[in-house]
Symmetry: C2
């Protein structure tokens, strides 16, 4: 990635420290992805992107900024990309998935904060992530205690807009979220200098729906008994989709889905027949957090679905494209987003409904419910998730982990035993 050094320098990054990250990433990519056999050819796109993850896309974003476009950094699947796109803005994900960033986060946050939040804050404050340097505006939301309070600290360093996510899902809460979206639209209009018209918003809604449909197509292929792609590869695709241009993302996902559908017709599977099919649920896995998938898939299991923000919660449910006024469109957006079943809501029984449905759709043999340490929300929901799955006769393994490697062997032992139990 050395071609990008001057760009990183211009971004005010800590080059010396960033070099350390650049040194370890290729090994991780090689170990987790390139070592796999019989991968879909269409993964070449994501292999390229991840090999220069701090170069290719950042360079594109800077080029667009030079044309006057604004980049909005987001941390949550609840922030509606459509609004930004309608104002000719660009959205990029900002979540941090590496232990590398955690120590810098711990300089300002309590150690007992989830690693995702610590890494995100650390990536900004340590100046070791170009996306965190490039974003013109950060968009936060009140989804969990840790993010909500961390944004106050981040907000001292960058322009920050906070959206207040209702904590329940009654009719009035959906209206409330619509109003937050309308307020956000005003902020985006002012910040970009571009008006959001019903036509522009309609176009943006269509773009993001097409991206969702393309991702759903890839996921649909995983429902086949003949499994044409590994969980690791789909996870990488999903993770990168938060950073990519949405039109290209849809194009690449559709290209991959074409190949996967052909593979299914041809009976090409990436795993041996009878490999146990695992659904992973819980907290998001930000780039480059591939730990759990890698352990599962090198312990005799195959991950065929992720009920998580870096998974089905990101692309399931479409926005109604039939609305023609901004007011109706904002409501359509609210209705779609409020269908996402995050543990920040109370109650969140919809997540259990989703899980039971997905267990059938994806022909799941066992569920691994894994949360990042100190994620109170998903950690507490393990109680009801595990009970509901057991009542439905689905084996479930509840785990917690962080970004450090120290628990890898312990996880491998527990996951190995779980898959062995499924094989019995």
């Amino acid at each position: 990635m050395s071609d990008y050094v001057s760009m990183w320098k211009d971004l005010g990054m800590d080059l010396e420290n960033h070099d350390l990250l650049c040194q370890v990433l290729p090994t991780a990519v090689g170990d987790v992805f390139l070592s796999q056999e019989n991968r879909p050819k269409a993964m070449d796109f994501w292999d390229l992107v991840i090999s220069e993850v701090h170069g290719i896309r950042p360079a594109e974003l800077i080029k667009e900024q030079e044309k006057g476009r604004k980049v909005f950094g987001t941390f949550c699947v609840y922030v509606p990309d459509e609004v930004v796109i309608a104002a000719n803005g660009i959205v990029t994900g900002l979540c941090g998935g590496s232990q590398f960033w955690v120590p810098d986060g711990e300089k300002v946050l309590p150690k007992s904060t989830c690693p995702l939040v610590k890494a995100s804050v650390g990536a900004r404050l340590g100046r070791t992530c170009p996306f965190f340097r490039i974003a013109d505006m950060y968009v936060g939301e009140t989804t969990c205690d840790a993010k909500k309070k961390a944004y106050e600290i981040l907000g001292e360093d960058v322009p920050m807009h906070i959206m207040d996510v209702p904590q329940m899902k009654r009719t009035k809460d959906i209206v409330k979220w619509k109003e937050e979206i309308a307020d956000f639209a005003k902020v985006v209009e002012e910040f970009t200098g571009n008006a959001i018209t019903p036509e522009k918003l309609s176009e943006a809604i269509h773009i993001v729906n097409e991206k969702r449909k393309a991702m759903q197509r890839v996921y649909d292929c995983r429902k086949s008994e003949c499994l044409p792609i590994s969980g690791r590869d789909v996870l990488l695709m999903t993770q990168i989709s938060f950073f990519d241009d949405p039109v290209r993302c849809a194009e690449m996902c559709n290209r991959l889905a074409d190949e996967l559908e052909q593979r299914i017709k041809d009976g090409v599977s990436v795993v041996k027949e009878g490999t146990k099919r695992i659904l992973v649920t819980g907290t998001p896995m930000a780039v480059p957090n591939w730990k759990l998938h890698n352990i599962i898939e090198t312990s005799g299991g195959a991950v065929v679905c992720e009920e998580m923000c870096t998974g089905t919660r990101y692309f399931e449910n479409f926005v109604d494209e039939s609305k023609t006024t901004l007011d109706e469109q904002f409501m359509a957006l609210s209705e779609r987003y409020m269908k996402t079943n995050c543990a920040c809501f109370t109650p969140n029984t919809g997540r259990i409904d989703d899980l039971l449905r997905m267990v059938k759709e994806y022909k799941i043999d066992g569920v691994i419910d894994c949360s990042l340490k100190f994620c109170c929300l998903y950690d507490t929901e393990k109680y009801s998730v595990s009970r509901a799955l057991k009542e439905a006769g689905i084996p479930v393994l509840s785990l917690e982990t962080d970004y450090a490697d120290t628990d890898a062997e312990q996880l491998r032992t527990r996951i190995g035993a779980f898959i062995e139990m499924l094989n019995d």
Copy 2:
């Protein structure tokens, strides 16, 4: 407390386990309170109440229930008592402040949940607290991740109403909270069978304001250089105020304030001249959590103010009594409650303003910012609290603790060193 055994039996309590709690409490009360010299005589009321804390008030509540009145159990200073009182209902606090209840809470909640929430859930599920048996309805709120999710589990066992607290404090959020209060009023009317009229609500607002004024009077006495009461004694008064009848509470607080005002005139202090004056801020201290106050006041300091829910956040700010329609009254309630500066809001700069004001009002020498373990909200705010106090030249000690005694010596060392530093 053996006179109450048949009552506890009727409440379906686990008598054997509860006995263990009854055995240790008198020693704790003796050590922390009765060992103090020169206490105000008016503390006799709270000494009596705490000596039979699971007897006297529970018996009263049951008597009122027999007359047809309903008891509402609450966990947060954001739930407006006025609405319940207007419908002839009774409010009782439900928070648990003892390690005794934690293991029962950990049966259903993650270990990395704050002890207050684990103890509250454990007190209910372990059937070892009469208040948790007596309450006809529980009122929860979406203030923190841990409580929000714990209520889902509690709600399987008891009738539960959740109020959605906005996470910000913009004008529209105050309107939103007003609407939550109005909805809550409907629930209370239905549950009690009593209509809430403007007259009834006006009376209830007055009752609770009078209670607040009486508590404020006691706190005002602590502003005197001649300190007429210990922090432990005021903490006990405040803790019990969550459980007591509000009219009697006001009467007893006023009786105490009369005595304290006289003491100030007479120059009667409970501490030696020059004793360092400590403000304690952070997470609430539920009965019987007296750990921190006890350590501070047996290490040469005097606690003269608590900027916490079991402190100033409970009684500061009055509800406007001039409103005559329910709609206006609900708005007046919302405006008053939204002045309370809880760390669940973002931003929460009002808390820092409060702290800087109180440091002056109470003539503070040093601030101890102490949160319960795994309270992400207050833990994260330590960063900005500590910075603001240091900028203002106020020494601050940041701590975290839980209900176990294992860290008592370590806390004593750190607090002792802090007070010694103040004395230098």
